[in-house]
Subunit: 408 residues, 2 copies
């Protein structure tokens, strides 16, 4: 069902010097599938992350934040699928600690140098014994270029692995950026049942990377929405191993901008892949709001449209139902919005003009746009000069089926 989700051939996935990956079948929830992933990171790597704002933060998220704050240098990451270790209280926290302890012991590092991640069902105890029993298998599998296996291993309701990889010329050098993500439902700003990992062999000063990961998450993973739910476990991590010749310590470095852009583009691609593979998605929609007074109000409108079940079901039906879009703009919460200033395009077709149906609009033109798998919804508010964009998908029968059956 995924919408134009590009999966690069394995030959186009570049190893990142300083990152090794191994996977294993730990039997966390289901037998005969790789559900455990270990990253080993070279000494001296900078690692920074952003995490869910949900008040029910899962145990591994709490540990990630503590271990990043401890500042001992992150040397490994461990990810399990099948169980989110969320809403599991003290027992769950202990399970996450035991996981870090076990991996640290096997790799000869400190537990505070390990970042743990979990994704899957909530409120069920993590089978930590099975997890730790699987670690030696994952460690035995550690290889330079195991990104593809990792992209598969972290999937839950995803139908496709999500992976980006590119080589970027920076000054006289070339760096590599490779990343994976997972997530298919329960997605909206401020992170979701979403895991994203981006690694580069560029060197980036730790404090700078900390700023960059926030800003990049805000432009990528915080601009996608599937169903408006945000999960307990969402995490986005950037690793910079420093194994290339490129090292950047401040925003004034001339290579900072191109590096930032390359990382942000890769993150946006990973984020968009989550929408393309969203549960039951048949269309990929870009909701672009222009002429707002502030980014906040642009996003209010974009999210109102992107999250409206009525808009999303109309898109599923390829129905250019502009009434539902205008209606969502109307309840987005901009108190002094003058609807007479609003123009609305579906693709290149001006469907609403000055807040009403464009007199020149022909339904056949709207229909043509709506039948495409990728649709741009462009809304001009006529209030200012700020734009912002959100990515989303339609709402199909399949979404209901998947989410009604998830635990069975």
């Amino acid at each position: 069902m995924a919408v134009n989700l590009y999966i690069p051939p394995e030959s186009h996935i570049f190893a990142v010097a300083g990152v090794e990956i191994g996977t294993a079948e730990a039997g966390i929830r289901k037998a005969n599938r790789r559900d455990l992933t270990v990253f080993r990171l070279a000494e001296g790597s900078s690692v920074a992350g952003v995490f869910t704002l949900n008040r029910f933060r899962a145990a591994p998220v709490q540990l990630c934040e503590a271990h990043l704050a401890a500042g001992q240098g992150i040397r490994a990451m461990v990810i399990n699928t099948g169980n989110a270790n969320a809403g599991t209280g003290e027992t769950g926290l202990q399970a996450a600690k035991d996981t870090c302890q076990a991996l640290a012991g096997l790799l000869g590092i400190e537990p505070a140098q390990v970042l743990p991640f979990s994704t899957g069902v909530i409120l069920e105890p993590l089978p930590v014994d099975r997890l730790t029993a699987g670690l030696p298998q994952a460690i035995a599998d550690l290889q330079d270029n195991n990104w593809f296996a990792a992209a598969h291993s972290i999937m839950t309701t995803d139908t496709q692995p999500k992976i980006v990889s590119q080589r970027v010329a920076l000054g006289n050098n070339t760096i590599t950026i490779t990343g994976i993500s997972k997530g298919a439902g329960m997605i909206r700003p401020n992170m979701a049942t979403m895991l994203g990992y981006l690694a580069t062999d560029a060197g980036i000063a730790p404090d700078l990377l900390k700023e960059m990961v926030r800003s990049i998450a805000d432009r990528s993973f915080n601009r996608i929405t599937v169903d408006g739910d945000t999960s307990t476990n969402d995490s986005f991590i950037i690793v910079a191993t420093g194994k290339s010749q490129v090292r950047i310590d401040s925003t004034s470095d001339p290579l900072y901008e191109p590096l930032y852009t390359a990382l942000a583009d890769a993150a946006t691609e990973l984020a968009q892949k989550i929408v393309r593979d969203a549960e039951g998605a048949t269309k990929f929609m870009t909701v672009q709001v222009e002429q707002a007074k502030t980014s906040e109000e642009a996003l209010k409108v974009a999210y109102a449209v992107a999250q409206s079940p009525l808009v999303k079901t109309a898109f599923f039906a390829s129905d250019p139902n502009l009434g539902r879009i205008l209606c969502a703009i109307g309840y987005a919460g901009i108190a002094d919005l003058d609807v007479n200033g609003i123009n609305l395009w579906l693709g290149d077709v001006l469907v609403a003009k000055n807040g009403g149906r464009n007199p020149d609009y022909q339904e056949a033109d709207g229909q043509r746009v709506m039948k495409e798998p990728e649709i741009l919804v462009r809304i001009a508010l006529g209030r200012g000069d700020v734009s912002d964009t959100v990515y989303t998908c339609d709402f199909s029968h399949e979404y209901v089926s998947i989410n009604a059956d998830y635990r069975s």
Copy 2:
């Protein structure tokens, strides 16, 4: 598909002295169905209403507000289905004015004494000629007890008519309260594609009724949610004809409280009927949040749970997926929420205790509750002593089908 939607027998629907109703087939959108309804109200009736907060307020809503403000005394209401006359600009406003003018001419009253209402598709011109051509038929049909026909005539995607009727003893007298509503999707607080009309033969001072209609809407129609969308046309009206012996001029009248309660109960029943008949609904859920600091935060949590597509699809599947409910509580937006203080019941079963799974909870107990058509979700936040309640339904395949096919 409606969930326990009680339709009283015609013999239990009581006429309200001072209210006559007629319906007609005007062919607004479809042939061979009654789609036009006229109310004639006795002189001296008090009429008050509340309307959508959507910035795209439909033309009839704008006229309703103007005519209520004009204070000439409302003597008639006219309701068409099939076309919402929304997003139709000046032409649409003129069409609504023409409707009032035509009805006023036929009834020998002023246009400003008419309230117009429209519901149906948005952004298409109202066929005002067909509408006004149907008025004589509706007027010829005016009768005391035509409530049932009106309940049918105002339906759009509703599968069942929604009607309440009761006689209430007030002091030494008996008054009658009868009302109808329509609406099935696009429902959430601050009104929705929702029309509600409640009439009583009690007399209520106009200023008092104005206060009462706001307060009662807030306890009834503003506490239901189907899909979080709010429409351009939502309206709730109370008519008090004063044809009984009861007349109430202030809140200090000893009969005020029982009258208020009777009207509020009738409005709540009408509102709940909308949820019971919501598009594709198979379950009716009451989300009750207790121990909040404020009503605002209780409602934030209640709506986060009631509007989560993941929660709603789990209920559709009769899956006691408490993880999804806790998750929604977590992202409801209470920044200092201590999740360890949260208890959660499904029906009478304590499923989560102190923010985690209740150790004594058996899945079979949750399953038993979830199989019922009516489910109480009770959430105690452990922060204060304020409670509030929201009514909603589950999210089914049928919802997607109905909304993907609505215009075809």
